[in-house]
Subunit: 207 residues, 2 copies
Amino acid sequence: MTAVTIIGAGNLGGAVAALAAKAGAQVQVLARDPEKAHTIAAPLGADAGTLGDHLTGDIVVLALPYHAVSAVLDTYAGALAGKTLVDVTNPVDFATFDALVVPADSSAARIIQDAVPQATVVKAFNTNFGATLATGTAGPLATTVLIAGDDQAAKQAVAGLVTAGGLRAIDAGSLKRARELEALGFLQLTLAAGGKTPWTGGFALVG
Amino acid sequence: MTAVTIIGAGNLGGAVAALAAKAGAQVQVLARDPEKAHTIAAPLGADAGTLGDHLTGDIVVLALPYHAVSAVLDTYAGALAGKTLVDVTNPVDFATFDALVVPADSSAARIIQDAVPQATVVKAFNTNFGATLATGTAGPLATTVLIAGDDQAAKQAVAGLVTAGGLRAIDAGSLKRARELEALGFLQLTLAAGGKTPWTGGFALVG
């Protein structure tokens, strides 16, 4: 059985935890506030805990705002070796909402991979609004989770989870494609914030 | 009546010419090979001509591969002042299909605008496969044309054309957003080339 740890108890963390539980994975939810982790975990029959607790998952989902990732990686320094780290972030400069905070020729996923070379980073879920993960639909289309990474086995593990949870998974290429996934995620956020697409929609990939 | 010149007689040029004709615009199609221009223009009741002919459009659509744009701008140096230049390109490095050929912190649209400061550049159509412009649908959804630019009047002129032609137009923000539109266009091309979305689909924006 796949074991998945979700770090973060926000909208997306909750949606990915529910997806993993639906997929039959053993799920652990960790958050700075253990009460929030419990609120998500309890209805799913998942474990809840506090940031710093032992990681039970082989797949660790960083369901955090980008600015919060670095401290969490420090917290778990040494405990991430051999894990598949799933980066869901859109590293938007929320002060201006006009750029990303990562260098133009890099990506949040690349930066996380460089910070934790002993783990395997996979970019996924950053182009999905939480609601579309929960319902399985983006407008009239099936929700598609785009997955990028350099390690086929790690990508397949994440794709297997997505598929077993009832959603469509697409291999979007190497970790280099995280740059385009983050551009897409950012653009989609600006369009939804501007009322040009609903938070239950965004960009849906025609199958 | 809006007057539109399409430079280029490929798949996208033909689709934009048909859209403009449907919108009731006066349409001119120019191509290096005047026979190709004629093939597109004749059924639309549009004018056809050769690259270098006088531009009759106030809106000039550069429906060319990115590598061919520079020579066309040279050909029309001086004749582009005051025009709205529509950049439809995805400046993909087709040798590797793994990157764009423009600097990571720039875009084809930005480079074209800098090359022709006396014209107003609008990014549009680069996230639409030609077939979706022709049919009005991307899978089950209405085709949406994303438009980015710094000049509201120019964007509205292009949006008006799109809407009058029966498609949905969305203002995607300033010309800076061309970077994200080109990332989206590139990603979409890689997915279609990999058989992961049909050339009649791609990313459809939920309305």
